[in-house]
């Protein structure tokens, strides 16, 4: 079992590296295409279906600053795969260098329990949970922008901010059960 470690390699100048993990390999491609458009810093994107990553790439792989798990809320498989991948990450990543990105959350076929499970997972790992509208260009652009915001902090490119500090502000909290709209 090979762990992915956050500090095993040296950072490159003005560079941020992001790893997108998605079992369905649908959204990650469009997201990656948008991420590398960033001009202020050099963004390298690595795409993976699941963890662990293949050993043979270890040499060429740069230091990963942020790991993003993309979860399609309409497929339980997607969640299970992300959950299984988590154990191949060094605990150091959970100090602000992991985030979850959920898609399709507004779909009618998403059971509430499932949404709760994803929230609980993110909350228990003290990670942020973002939601994305992956089906519209605006949604993709916005998701990209938000990931870049987190990535820049995680890669140490924002002065006076550390990943751990920002993650203490953005991490997911298990929301209270706001049940029925309060008609009464």
């Amino acid at each position: 079992m090979s762990l992915l470690k956050p500090f095993s390699k040296l950072p490159a100048l003005n560079t941020a590296n992001i790893l997108l993990v998605e079992s369905e390999e649908q959204f990650q491609q469009s997201l990656a295409d948008a991420l590398v458009e960033e001009t202020a810093v050099t963004v390298n994107v690595r795409l993976a279906k699941s963890l662990p990553l293949p050993k043979e790439n270890e040499e060429s792989r740069p230091r990963i600053d942020l790991v993003v798990f993309i979860i399609n809320m309409t497929s339980e498989r997607s969640f299970k795969s992300a959950e299984a991948s988590l154990k191949y990450l060094d605990p150091g990543y959970f100090l602000g260098k992991v985030c979850f990105l959920a898609t399709n959350v507004r779909n009618a076929s998403v059971p509430t329990e499932y949404l709760d499970a994803v929230r609980k997972l993110a909350a228990s790992l003290h990670c942020p949970l973002l939601f994305a509208e992956d089906q519209t260009p605006d949604g993709v652009a916005n998701a990209t922008e938000r990931l870049l915001t987190i990535l820049k902090v995680a890669a140490g490119l924002v002065p006076m901010a550390t990943a751990l500090y920002v993650s203490s502000l953005t991490r997911c909290s298990v929301p209270p059960d706001i049940d029925q709209p309060s008609f009464d």
């Binding site: 309409t74 399709n104 959350v105 507004r106 779909n107 009618a108 509430t112 949404l115 942020p128 949970l129 973002l130 939601f131 994305a132 509208e133 089906q135 519209t136 605006d138 949604g139 652009a141 916005n142 998701a143 922008e145 938000r146 915001t149 987190i150 902090v153 924002v158 002065p159 006076m160 901010a161 920002v166 502000l169 953005t170 991490r171 997911c172 909290s173 929301p175 209270p176 706001i178 049940d179 029925q180 709209p181 309060s182 008609f183 009464d184």
Partner: protein, 720 residues
């Protein structure tokens, strides 16, 4: 059931009562010969009238098969129905003919299918048809067809009072498994607060245990719960599939066609001056609830004038002007689709002044589900969602809320849920504006409902989103404060939270909420400024917020003064643009005015509020820092906020470091100092900014700065 049955005349006398209205009644008094002639004439003129007469007079038990007369008459009626629609009278006759099964069950379906009203449907006819339904010879599928028809033309029934009177009778059909979904829909449209009774709730619950959690039962029950929460204890799932299906497109398409044809004939003189015109309802969206049903002006002018004098209620649709609204305000009938109210300002005026609780409840209920299904729980995850349509809908909702000057509670509930799954970009302007409209949130809830989701969105989004959010929170605070200054009662204790609900809030509770909000924004602003490197645009939005905060006491009469945190004060003080520094000075000045007047009030009246020493101390401290730093060139003096070790400062090799943030050397004002220097000593080659500090040039320099529009600075330390 017995009492309700009596409401309509016994079935036997029907033929006479109906022919009274029909053309043939005029014949009665004349001599037979003349009558015959007249009749022939009439028949020659209008075979349709003859056909109607056939159906009103035909004997029971006449065979259908091979009956050419029947066939030709029915075809005639059908033709008129599909082309022009049937008059109220014709509807009565045909409905009576069909439901009485005078010629057996087979023509019944065919007749029902062609019952397309041209204007209105007389209520009496519908009630009578219900009575026939109770007789119980009609096959189940035809019964269902009849109810579907009633649902389709519901808005065209000229009055609903008698239908409501037989609510119990209609309710009794709910036990029939075939009819149950449709009966539930009809009851849903008819239900008033008074119709919710314990035994009905019990019956529905019993049905639910038998049929399972059917959406139509749940919808009716949840409406009951809205009216009488104490009677329905059942918890209703937050995610519900849409309850009532769009029943029959056959009639709808025919109706639309007929209406189009009639409208074009009547000419478009019936443009409604007071209603916002919606797009025509021809857009097809299968699962959509967004399409706000327009208040159809189905009824043409003629029908209106002849009927409005006799009818007991006036549908809101027919009210054309504010004057008319005032005349009829006691007998307004609301449409069955509450959503249509949103589009009409007249309807909103009515709603606002009548304060009809059940109308508001129904509107809220409809809105809650529409928002829920369209944005939280869409069929396809929003893939095909027409965001343009959604945007228009929310804009309309916003304009409604502005008109009523308060938010709907269903919007609020929706927002709390939506924030938890929002991506931060979908319909951002609308969502942020809706958010700024929410009423005061109790301080015990505010954190989990509002702050936590907002914080996650805020810190993961771009600086422009941060600015938008800051503006939204500023507007929210403004609305809360305005609302307080308007609604707060004399005794300053109980304030009703919202004109729609009866939840009250004490003044201290309100103060707690406002304080929580201000502190929360303070935290967002400090960290946001830090993360964004004191972004100038963002700083300006933050200062906007504090311009509201510094005046809470004088402008809005709320006894509360909250100082900005150091994370906001210092970035503004050391900002690189002079406008921010000037605005900070202005804000400090307003704080001063507020504090002074609060202090004087505290002295005058015993019961005035108490400003904590801490607040005053904080203010004084900021003031000292500001004046020392900008005017007195005493940066880094002991006792100031920013203290650094002497050796460290010497090590930095900055000459006269204590001067580095005075009005001459401050990065925001340096350019002014240089241009002043050039103007003052045009001949001098070497620039010595320190020479401005001499008393005379210094006074001139200050005058020069103030003349550039920096009034904030001027207000704090007026030129000597």
């Amino acid at each position: 059931m017995a009492e309700t049955l009596n409401l309509s005349s016994p079935p036997d006398s029907d033929s006479s009562s109906i022919s009274d209205q029909s053309v043939s009644s005029r014949i009665g008094n004349r001599s037979l010969r003349v009558a015959k002639k007249e009749k022939q004439k009439l028949e020659a003129v209008d075979p349709f009238v003859k056909a109607l007469k056939y159906f009103s007079d035909v004997d029971a038990g006449t065979p259908v098969v091979g009956n050419d007369e029947f066939e030709s008459n029915l075809v005639r009626v059908e033709r008129v129905a599909y082309s022009k629609g049937l008059s109220p009278n014709a509807i009565s006759i045909m409905l009576e003919f069909a439901m009485s099964l005078r010629m057996g069950t087979s023509p019944c379906v065919r007749v029902l299918k062609c019952l397309i009203p041209a204007s209105v449907v007389p209520q009496e006819a519908v009630v009578r048809a219900w009575v026939w339904l109770g007789v119980g010879k009609i096959p189940p599928s035809t019964q269902v067809l009849f109810i579907k028809w009633v649902l389709t033309i519901f808005d065209m029934i000229d009055a609903k009072d008698q239908l409501r009177a037989i609510y119990g009778f209609i309710f009794s059909f709910v036990t029939d498994e075939n009819m149950c979904p449709f009966i539930c829909h009809l009851l849903y449209l008819l239900t008033r607060k008074g119709s919710v009774r314990v035994f009905r709730v019990r019956k529905l619950l019993e049905l639910q245990s038998k049929l399972g959690r059917q959406p139509f039962l749940l919808h009716l029950l949840s409406l009951y719960k809205v009216f009488c929460p104490e009677l329905v204890t059942l918890s209703i799932p937050s995610r519900m599939r849409s309850g009532f299906r769009n029943h029959n497109s056959h009639w709808k398409s025919a109706l639309i066609a007929v209406q189009k044809r009639n409208n074009s004939q009547v000419a478009s003189s019936t443009s409604l001056p007071f209603t916002i015109k919606d797009k025509p309802g021809s857009r097809k969206r299968k699962h959509s609830h967004l399409q706000m049903p327009a208040l159809h002006s189905v009824v043409n002018k003629q029908a209106q004038t002849e009927s409005s004098s006799t009818r007991k209620v006036v549908p809101l649709v027919q009210v054309q002007s504010f004057a008319e609204l005032l005349d009829n305000i006691h007998r307004i009938e609301l449409p069955s689709q509450m959503g249509s109210l949103l589009g009409s300002s007249l309807a909103l005026q009515y709603l606002d002044c009548v304060q009809d609780e059940s109308a508001l409840l129904r509107l809220n209920f409809w809105l809650g589900y529409a928002l829920h299904e369209e944005f939280l729980f869409c069929g396809d995850g929003g893939a095909s969602q027409n965001s343009e349509e959604a945007r228009l809908f929310l804009n309309k909702l916003l304009s409604t809320q502005h008109f009523l000057q308060e938010g709907f509670s269903s919007t609020e509930a929706f927002l709390y849920k939506f924030l938890c799954i929002w991506d931060g970009s979908l319909l951002r302007p609308q969502i942020l504006e809706l958010l700024s409209n929410i009423p005061v949130v109790p301080s015990t809830q505010i954190r989990r409902l509002l702050f936590e989701p907002l914080m996650q969105l805020f810190f993961t989004s771009s600086v422009f989103f941060k600015c938008g959010m800051m503006e939204c929170l500023n507007n929210m605070l403004l609305k809360w404060l305005t609302w307080h200054s308007v609604y707060a009662l004399e005794d300053d204790l109980d304030i009703s939270l919202n004109s729609q609900t009866s939840i009250n809030m004490t003044l201290s509770g309100f103060k707690d909420s406002v304080m929580e909000l201000i502190h929360f924004v303070g935290r967002l602003a400090s960290v946001g400024l830090q993360l964004e490197g004191c972004h100038t645009l963002f700083l300006n939005f933050v200062l906007d917020f504090y311009e509201t905060v510094c005046d809470t006491f004088l402008k809005y009469g709320l006894p509360l003064v909250v100082m900005p945190p150091a994370g906001v004060f210092y970035p503004a003080l050391f900002a690189t643009d002079p406008v921010s520094v000037d605005r900070l000075a202005h804000i400090m000045k307003r704080y001063k005015v507020n504090l002074v007047s609060a202090k004087s009030q505290e002295k005058n009246t015993e019961q005035a509020f108490h400003i904590s020493r801490q607040t005053v101390r904080e203010f004084n401290h900021y003031m000292v820092v500001m004046v020392n730093c900008l005017w007195n060139s005493k940066m880094f003096h002991t006792g100031m906020g920013v203290e650094l070790g002497e050796e460290l400062l010497l090590k930095s090799n900055v000459p006269q470091y204590w001067k580095s943030f005075d009005l001459i050397h401050h990065p925001a004002f340096m350019s002014y100092a240089i241009s002043f220097h050039q103007k003052c000593w045009p001949g001098r080659k070497d620039m010595d900014l320190n020479s401005i500090k001499h008393s005379k040039p210094w006074t001139w320099y200050l005058e020069y700065l103030y003349s550039q529009g920096y009034d904030g600075l001027k207000q704090i330390v007026p030129a000597q």
